[in-house]
Point group: C2
Chain length 307, copies 2
């Protein structure tokens, strides 16, 4: 299989879209028309509908595992269904589970989500705290199966200052910059034909300065940017995570796209329209913000026309 | 429900056992007699047998989620079965999933494993990297439902030096000590009648000096100690994570107990005997090591007689 980074960049270019739709099952907030049976049925049907609505607009979806696990075994079955539905529609799937562990346990997680045989996702998010060797099984799975990994660097929450931001004695620089350096090294062997590595990072849209700095420190990393919309990050802030070529990042929105329909008694057609319109609005906002950022920065050239 | 810390300490005392049995499904390494049907059936039957074999010996089991997830939805169903089987036999269940995220996503993980309604575990492991507010939903679930949480501090792998050990500019001390301080504060309101908090830490048995130091820094924290046996940690090293009262930690062994039976054609009875003997040997080794540590340290009094 082609490297994940090439598959993602190709999809971003062909759809002229730098956004990803987050899939967070919250059954009690779903439209009533979808809640006619079990939670399992509701989650599956809701996501099939969202996926159908956005398949021609975005390169990828990002199911958040925590929300599926909250529904137990049935939730995990709905996760499997959601992954399959997305792949059938040609969307890439980023499993957001923030997994990690050491040694054979990390291998088990990599097998589960990147091995292509269990939950057949294209990329997953991981936590880096346990060190480089804890990340290696994921890096190896990415290399072997053409998959991708996004390691959490600087999250969008206020508490990200507690440990992520801690200046280190050795450098005076934040911990997350040291981890960024390690990711650069781990990802060096996985740079695809389009110039990006399949070993990426998660950087919240709520911290534009940190985003700008990390973007410069990791020029070839794909950056997954959460925190846009509901969590307070603006398109302008998220744009800091992009390179001069107008590429290198994807910005996620979950609730702002799938749960912003208002009336729980909304019809199926109106719901699909709401999801499409919210997605299109975000795509345009991000494209404008990335273009603006490139025009305002003298060192940057305008974004390449995509597609 | 009683606080997790009190329930765990009571079980440790009544069984005079400071060990926990790790449950890592590796179907291809299971005895042949259990591998007659699906992976799902093998995992469920294997763990029912292990749980039956150790129920009178140990206070708790620690299923490792990664290995269940590796078997997909069926693996998660086997996880649910395993949790139920352990609880029916009166064992506490520590879900080892190293989960975390921010905000409502962290809440979803806490609901899934500590809420008492989905996967009904007694405690879970989490990663601390994303900061104090990322840990709060778990702390709140522990308080509300009488559950426990173990945050990863210093893991047993070589790579734990990469980020966990980084000296901070502010103190010159390792990052994990700063996180230990935060855990102390988060756990202060959850100290039970037996003097221990339900907010604990994971510290690998392969780093006895770090264990000793962290034990002193977090006198009321329950410490979950992996890395004994297969990963190279000795009973003596693991003993550093205990207090003068001979309590305050539980030491995990997984493969050394459940997969050390040798012949894949072993009979059911011989397998049960192997699991029991391996468990009893570890219990005795740990009790001796903890007693020895207390006798050798002038400041320490001998371990209280338990039970």
């Amino acid at each position: 299989m082609q490297p994940f980074s090439d598959r993602l960049i190709a999809a971003i270019r062909s759809k002229d879209c730098r956004c990803v739709v987050g899939l967070d099952p919250r059954v009690d907030q779903m439209p009533r028309f979808v809640r006619t049976g079990s939670d399992y049925a509701a989650i599956t049907a809701f996501h099939e509908l969202v996926i159908e609505a956005v398949a021609d607009l975005v390169p990828a979806v990002k199911p958040q595992l925590a929300f599926f696990e909250q529904y137990g075994v049935a939730g995990m079955q709905a996760f499997e269904n959601t992954v399959l539905a997305a792949k059938q529609r040609g969307l890439l799937v980023i499993a957001d589970g923030k997994r990690n562990d050491i040694s054979s346990t990390a291998e088990a997680y990599a097998n589960a989500y990147l091995g292509g045989e269990v939950f057949d996702c294209d990329a997953m998010t991981v936590t880096p705290y346990m060190g480089r060797d804890s990340l290696m099984p994921f890096v190896e799975a990415c290399k072997k199966h053409g998959k991708g990994m996004f390691a959490v660097l600087k999250t969008s929450n206020e508490g990200s200052k507690d440990f992520e931001d801690q200046p280190l004695a050795a450098t005076g620089r934040p911990l997350y910059e040291k981890i960024a350096g390690a990711l650069n090294e781990l990802g060096a062997g996985l740079v695809g034909a389009m110039g990006y590595s399949s070993i990426g990072a998660v950087i919240g849209a709520t911290f534009p300065e940190e985003g700008r700095r990390l973007r410069a420190l990791m020029p070839k990393a794909l950056i997954l940017v959460p925190g846009y919309g509901t969590q307070g990050g603006s398109a302008q802030a998220a744009a800091e995570c992009f390179n001069e070529d107008g590429l290198g990042a994807i910005v996620n929105s979950s609730r702002g796209i799938t749960y912003a329909f208002g009336d729980p008694d909304i019809s199926r057609d109106a719901f699909v329209r709401s999801v499409r319109e919210n997605t299109q609005r975000m795509i345009e906002e991000m494209n404008s913000a990335v273009n603006r950022a490139n025009q305002q920065t003298p060192l940057r050239s305008p974004a390449l026309p995509l597609a």
